[in-house]
C-alpha cells in the first residue's frame, strides 16, 4: 500500500504532460482513480452489508427479545439478557457443546495423523504420485449432504456394505451391530465419514508444508549423519508444524459448524447422542421457533468460535516465529 492514489495521480499527471489532449485527460484520469475504487468496491460492500452484516445486527437485536418467527404478529418484548442466561444455564446446550467438542477432537486427531502420514508418503515422490494425489482428493470435493445421505445405506445393519466388510474381516455377524442405531457406535459412524471426506484436505495443507522445507536442511543433516528418525522429528515435524496447525484450525472451525452430515446420518440420534450444537440450534430456531433465544445461542457460538480461533492464531504465529 505504499503507492497511494496520490502517487499514481502524480505519475499520471507526469505522463499527461506528454499526451496530446492533455487537459481532458487530466480530469478524466485524476477523477477516475477515486471513482473506480469506489465503483469497484461498493457493490461488494453493499451486498455484504445487506446479506452478512444487516442480518447479523438483526440477530443481535432479536437475541434481546422474546420474538418467535412463527408468530410474526405478536408484540415483540425486550427481555434483556434473559435469553443469554437461559442458554448458558441450559443443560441440553452444554451437552450439545460437549458432543461437538468430542467430534471436533476425534475428527481432527484422526485427520491430522492420517493426513500428515499420507502427505509424508506422497512427498516420497513415487511414480504416479500426482495422479494418486488427485484420486485421494475426490471425497473432499463432494457434497457432504448428498454423500452423507448415501453412507446411511452403507451403514445399514443387514444389507450395508460397511457392516459386510467389517464382518468379512472380523467374523462379527453383520446384523449384530448398528452403526447409526447404537448409542456407542453412532458418534463413530459420523467420525468415520468426516474423516473419509476431509483427511485429503489436511493432507494437502501438510503436503504444502513438507514441500516448503528446503532440501539443503536435509543435506546438512545428512552430512552431520543424523538418522532418518532424528531428521523426521527435528526437521520435518517442526518445520511442517505451522501448516499442520493451520489445517487443524480450518478443520476445527468447519467441524464446529458440522451440520449436513449429522442431520442426514443420524439426525442427532439415537436419543441425543450425536446432537451437535448446530442441530440443537436448528431445533430451537426452526422447530421450537424460539427465535430470540436461538439468536442468543447463535451469537454465543459465534463469539466462542471467534475467540478460540483468535487465541489459536496467536499461538500459531508464535510457532511460525520460532
Amino acid at each position: 500500500m505504499t503507492d497511494a492514489p496520490s502517487t499514481i495521480a502524480e505519475r499520471s499527471a507526469d505522463m499527461l504532460a506528454r499526451s496530446t489532449p492533455a487537459s481532458i485527460a487530466v480530469r478524466v484520469r485524476g477523477l477516475s482513480d477515486r471513482v473506480i475504487a469506489w465503483l469497484f468496491i461498493t457493490p461488494t460492500i453493499a451486498l455484504l452489508l445487506a446479506i452478512n452484516i444487516f442480518p447479523l445486527i438483526w440477530a443481535v437485536y432479536l437475541s434481546f427479545t422474546n420474538f418467535r418467527a412463527n408468530r410474526p404478529n405478536a408484540e415483540i418484548e425486550g427481555v434483556g439478557l434473559r435469553n443469554y442466561q437461559r442458554v448458558l444455564n441450559d443443560a441440553d446446550i452444554w451437552i450439545a457443546m460437549q458432543t461437538t467438542a468430542h467430534f471436533v477432537f476425534w475428527t481432527i486427531l484422526l485427520q491430522t495423523v492420517i493426513g500428515f502420514a499420507l502427505a509424508y508418503l506422497i512427498d516420497r515422490k513415487f511414480r504416479g504420485h500426482a495422479f494418486w494425489t488427485t484420486v485421494i482428493l475426490i471425497p473432499m470435493m463432494l457434497s457432504p449432504a448428498v454423500v452423507g445421505n448415501f453412507w446411511r445405506f452403507l451403514y445399514q445393519p443387514q444389507i450395508g456394505l460397511f457392516n459386510y466388510i467389517v464382518s468379512y474381516f472380523t467374523g462379527i455377524p453383520p446384523s449384530s451391530f448398528e452403526m447409526l442405531g447404537s448409542v456407542t457406535l453412532a458418534p463413530w459412524a459420523i467420525i468415520i465419514v468426516d474423516t473419509w471426506m476431509w483427511t485429503p484436505y489436511v493432507m494437502l495443507i501438510c503436503l504444502a508444508g513438507l514441500r516448503s522445507i528446503p532440501d539443503y536442511i536435509y543435506e546438512a543433516a545428512e552430512v552431520d549423519r543424523a538418522s532418518a528418525w532424528r531428521q523426521f522429528w527435528s526437521i520435518t515435524v517442526p518445520m511442517a508444524l505451522p501448516f499442520i496447525m493451520l489445517a487443524v484450525l480450518f478443520r476445527g472451525i468447519e467441524n464446529f459448524k458440522m451440520f449436513d452430515m449429522v442431520i442426514l446420518l443420524t439426525g442427532g440420534g439415537p436419543g441425543s447422542t450425536t446432537e451437535v450444537a448446530s442441530i440443537t440450534l436448528k431445533r430451537e430456531a426452526f422447530e421450537s421457533w424460539l427465535t430470540g433465544r436461538s439468536s442468543a445461542f447463535a451469537i454465543i457460538l459465534f463469539v466462542a468460535v471467534f475467540g478460540l480461533a483468535n487465541i489459536y492464531v496467536k499461538a500459531l504465529n508464535k510457532v511460525k516465529q520460532r
Binding site: 492514489p5 499520471s12 505522463m15 484520469r29 477516475s32 477515486r34 473506480i36 475504487a37 468496491i41 457493490p43 461488494t44 460492500i45 451486498l47 455484504l48 445487506a50 446479506i51 452478512n52 452484516i53 444487516f54 442480518p55 440477530a59 410474526p72 499420507l118 506422497i122 516420497r124 494418486w132 488427485t134 484420486v135 485421494i136 482428493l137 475426490i138 471425497p139 463432494l142 457434497s143 457432504p144 449432504a145 448428498v146 454423500v147 448415501f150 445405506f153 444389507i159 473419509w196 494437502l204 495443507i205 504444502a208 532440501d215 543435506e219 501448516f243 489445517a247 480450518f250 459448524k257 442426514l264 440450534l281 436448528k282 427465535t291 439468536s295 447463535a298 457460538l301 471467534f306 480461533a309
Partner: protein, 318 residues
C-alpha cells in the same frame, strides 16, 4: 543411507524401496476411499432387490431401473390394466410395467438439478465478478479500514450456517425472497464473495503494478489497463477462485434445506427425500447421487492444477 556417495540421486532422494512402500500405502488408501463412490455407482445400476440383497452383490445384471425411478413418478396398476395398454414406448416404460406399475409423470429431479445449476453458476459468476473488482480496488487503492473490514467479513464465515440462516430466513420472508432462485443466488454470492475477494486480492497483489502503469503511460485509461493488463494476468487466480465458489454453491445443504422447499429447491436437499414404495429407493437415490457427483468429479480431474493451487495458496496466505 550409507551409499550417499555411490548413488546418482541427491542425498535427500528416498531410496527406491522407500518409494515403492510409500506408493503402495498411498495407492491402497486411495482405493479404499474410492469404495463408497464405486458403491454409489454400482447401486445406481442395480435393481431394487439386488441392491438390498445379502451378501452385497458385486456381480449382477445391470439395469436402468434406478434411473427410471429417479426420473419418473409411477402408480401401481393391475396386471390386466397393464395388459390392455399399447406397446411400451421406451426402456423405462418397459421396466416399470415389469413391476406392475405405469409411469404417471416426471419426477422433480431434473428441475431440482436445474435449480442447482442455475444457482451455482449464477452465484459463482456474481461472486467472482464482484470479487475481482473489489479485490482490485483493495489491492491498488487505499481503502479506509480495508484490512479490518476484510477480516471481519471473512470471520462471518465462522458462524454456523444455521445461525446465519435465522435472520436471513426472516429477512427473506419479509422481502419475498424465500424459496426463490434469486434469493439463493444472492445468499451464496454473499457467502462466497468474502472468500473470493480474499483469494483474488492475493492473486492480484502478485501482479506488478508497473504493468498497468506502463500501459497507462502508453495511453490506456485505468479501466482499459484493468481489462487488458490485469484481467489476463489474473486468469489463473480467477479460475481457481471460481472453482471454489462453484463447489461450495453446488454442494451447499444447510441454507438450501432451510430456505428452499419448493420451486427453488436445489438437488442436495432433494436427493435424500427420494423414496420408493416402502422406504428409501436406494438405486434411485444412488442414480440421483451419481448424476449429481459426476460434474464435480470431471471438474476435479480436469482442473486439478488450479484447484491444488487455490487450496494451498489459500492456506499459505492466512
Amino acid at each position: 543411507m550409507s551409499s550417499v556417495n555411490t548413488t546418482a540421486h541427491s542425498v535427500v532422494e528416498p531410496t527406491p524401496t522407500a518409494k515403492r512402500i510409500a506408493g503402495a500405502i498411498v495407492i491402497l488408501y486411495a482405493l479404499v476411499t474410492m469404495v463408497p463412490l464405486a458403491w454409489i455407482f454400482l447401486t445406481s445400476i442395480k435393481s431394487p432387490p439386488d441392491s438390498i440383497s445379502y451378501p452385497p452383490k458385486i456381480v449382477f445384471t445391470p439395469t436402468l431401473e434406478g434411473y427410471c425411478n429417479l426420473f419418473t413418478t409411477r402408480t401401481r396398476q393391475t396386471p390386466d390394466y397393464i395388459q390392455s395398454l399399447p406397446r411400451p414406448t421406451g426402456t423405462c416404460d418397459e421396466i416399470t410395467r415389469g413391476r406392475n406399475m405405469v409411469i404417471a409423470g416426471r419426477s422433480n429431479y431434473w428441475p431440482r438439478f436445474g435449480n442447482s445449476l442455475l444457482i451455482a453458476f449464477g452465484s459463482t459468476f456474481l461472486a467472482v465478478s464482484l470479487g475481482t473488482l473489489a479485490a482490485y480496488g483493495f489491492s491498488r487503492f487505499r481503502v479506509p479500514l480495508a484490512d479490518d473490514l476484510l477480516f471481519f467479513i471473512l470471520s462471518t464465515r465462522m458462524m454456523p450456517p444455521i445461525a446465519v440462516a435465522i435472520p436471513i430466513y426472516l429477512m427473506y420472508r419479509q422481502f419475498g425472497l424465500s424459496d426463490t432462485a434469486l434469493g439463493m443466488i444472492l445468499l451464496y454470492t454473499a457467502v462466497n464473495v468474502s472468500l473470493a475477494v480474499w483469494l483474488l486480492k492475493g492473486f492480484i497483489d502478485e501482479i506488478p503494478r508497473e504493468y498497468e502503469e506502463a500501459a497507462m503511460i502508453d495511453g490506456y485509461t485505468r479501466l482499459q489497463a484493468f481489462r487488458k493488463v490485469v484481467l489476463p494476468q489474473a486468469t489463473t487466480g480467477i479460475a481457481a477462485t471460481a472453482i471454489f465458489c462453484l463447489i461450495f454453491a453446488w454442494n451447499e445443504y444447510a441454507f438450501a434445506v432451510l430456505l428452499t422447499s419448493g420451486s427453488a429447491q436445489t438437488a442436495p436437499p432433494f436427493i435424500p427425500t427420494i423414496i420408493g414404495e416402502g422406504g428409501q429407493d436406494w438405486p434411485a437415490v444412488a442414480a440421483g447421487t451419481t448424476i449429481f457427483l459426476v460434474p464435480i468429479l470431471v471438474f476435479t480431474i480436469v482442473l486439478r492444477k488450479q484447484l491444488l493451487r487455490g487450496i494451498t495458496f489459500g492456506a499459505v496466505r492466512k
